[in-house]
């Protein structure tokens, strides 16, 4: 167990690689109750969210979620989050545990009288069941037909193991999966029930260590490592979440300018030729000259290689470009790699 953003979290249960591979081939269960949940309620909820985030929340149907950064006026990323449209005048923002307090303060500072900002973090627990067997396992515990909950959709009021939950088809692993929001008092029961229901499938509890190897293989970013208030979504490869045509939002002007002028650095993936791990802060070299820094790195158990992310000048950020990472005084050679490092096998067309 380690301290993480004000919470005690397990790094691993049986082993990072074992848990990682379980998620990729069967299923793994994560306790991610440390995430922050902020509810926006009232006639001004949608407008507030639309101002705060770069993605277009007006396009959300009730029962739909989206992924978006939340920016400063300079376009720096305060946090990345999911926005759930609970109903016409209620949204739920799910934010990183490490940023929950800052996010709340920022949201409250921008809220007018027509919206209530409610910190639901202490009232919500969250379990994430991820992997190809997730649907089959969770289905044993609920009468709701889960195949009617597509990717990035959710259903509130779903009974799982006899308890009331919100189930969303989302996750941070690159696999199919479900995130189950529940009352904290119900979480231990749900945890046990899911592990029991998934026993024939070989479900494993999984911790922060596997969470990191899985997300990095899938090309997902971690706020604090890969992006922060000094980086913009355009630099971080999140341009697809920036909907400049949706209307005004905080950071829009800065991002518009940056888009016109061009970015001076870009987050890129790289793969190394040795298994030595590129750690946050290590220098990335091109022909011996430092050109950037590693923001995240690990050994990817499913790709069998040392992988990582780092900011590079755009001309060096092209897949196939040769780079090296300085690890303990040595330049370990590698190559810029298109993300994601790992794509889950798709079912063959019928």
């Amino acid at each position: 167990m380690v301290p993480f953003g004000g919470w005690e979290m397990p790094v691993q249960y049986s082993g990072i690689i074992e848990e990682h591979l379980a998620v990729r081939t069967r299923a793994g269960l994560f306790d991610v109750s440390h995430m922050g949940e902020v509810e926006l309620a009232g006639p001004g909820a949608l407008a507030l969210a639309q101002r705060l985030v770069t993605n277009d929340v007006a396009r959300l149907a009730v029962g739909q979620a989206l992924y978006t950064p939340m920016c400063t006026p300079e376009g720096g990323i305060i946090d990345d989050l999911l926005v759930y449209r609970l109903d016409d005048a209620r949204l739920m923002l799910v934010v990183n545990a490490t940023n929950t307090q800052e996010d709340l303060a920022w949201i409250r500072a921008h809220a007018a009288d027509d919206v209530r900002v409610i910190d639901r973090t202490a009232e919500v627990a969250l379990l994430a069941l991820q992997g190809p067997r997730s649907l089959a396992i969770l289905q044993r515990l609920t009468p709701t037909p889960l195949e009617t909950v597509p990717y990035y959709r959710f259903r509130d009021g779903v009974e799982v193991a006899g308890r009331r939950t919100l189930v969303s088809r989302t996750g941070y692993t690159g696999e199919d999966g479900f995130e189950v929001y529940c009352a904290p008092g119900d979480a231990p029961h749900l945890w046990s029930a899911i592990l029991e229901a998934g026993r024939p499938d070989g479900v494993l509890p999984a911790g922060l260590g596997a969470r990191d190897t899985l997300r990095l293989e899938a090309g997902y970013l971690l706020h604090g490592n890969d992006m922060d208030t000094a980086t913009t979504p355009l630099e971080a490869g999140l341009g697809w979440t920036v909907k400049l045509q949706k209307g005004e939002f905080i950071g829009a002007d800065a991002l518009r300018r940056q888009k016109a002028v061009g970015i001076s650095r870009r987050l890129a993936g790289f793969t190394l030729e040795e298994r030595a791990i590129a750690r946050h802060g290590f220098a990335i070299l091109h022909e011996g000259t430092p050109i950037g820094r590693v923001t995240s790195g690990t050994f990817g158990p499913s790709v069998g290689k040392s992988i990582g992310l780092g900011y590079l000048p755009p001309e060096h950020a092209e897949p196939g470009r040769r780079v090296a990472v300085e690890i303990r005084g040595r330049a370990v050679p590698g190559v810029v790699t298109k993300l994601p490092f790992y794509t889950r096998p798709q079912p063959a067309p019928a």
Partner: protein, 128 residues
């Protein structure tokens, strides 16, 4: 319990005397704490190592740890199989996962290491 024919350093390396050479690895305690070893960096054959100075690293997904030489001398052999399959550290830490063989300058250095009972006590396990 820990093999009785080995000597142990406080940094969790073991040393086995083989005639006039010493074979070196890390203990199960260290291997378990590391888990998921993905990379081992060993010195070149011919390199000099010094008592309780770093001679390499073992890297897991979580962290990098230095390896400390339990004896001074010249590296006579390195375990290339371990470099290929670092996960051997977790499955056979005293056998196939040996790291280096040293030609020691002074075998008396081994007296500064712990025996199995003392090591077991240090890591907080009862001896059987």
């Amino acid at each position: 319990m820990y093999p009785k024919d080995l000597r142990y350093s406080k940094e969790h390396e073991w040393a086995r005397t083989e005639g006039n050479r010493v074979r070196v690895g890390i203990t199960k305690f260290a291997a378990d704490r590391l888990s998921d070893v993905v990379y081992v960096e060993l010195p070149q054959v011919g390199a000099e190592v010094s008592f309780m100075q770093p001679f390499g690293v073992v890297e897991s997904v979580k962290a990098v740890s230095d390896l400390y030489a339990p004896v001074s001398g010249r590296v006579a052999e390195i375990n290339r199989a371990l470099v290929e399959k670092p996960e051997l550290i977790n499955t056979d830490p005293y056998g196939e996962a040996w790291m280096i063989v040293v030609e020691p300058r002074d075998l008396a250095e081994l007296d500064r290491l712990m025996d199995a009972a003392a090591y077991a006590a240090m890591v907080g396990e009862a001896t059987s």
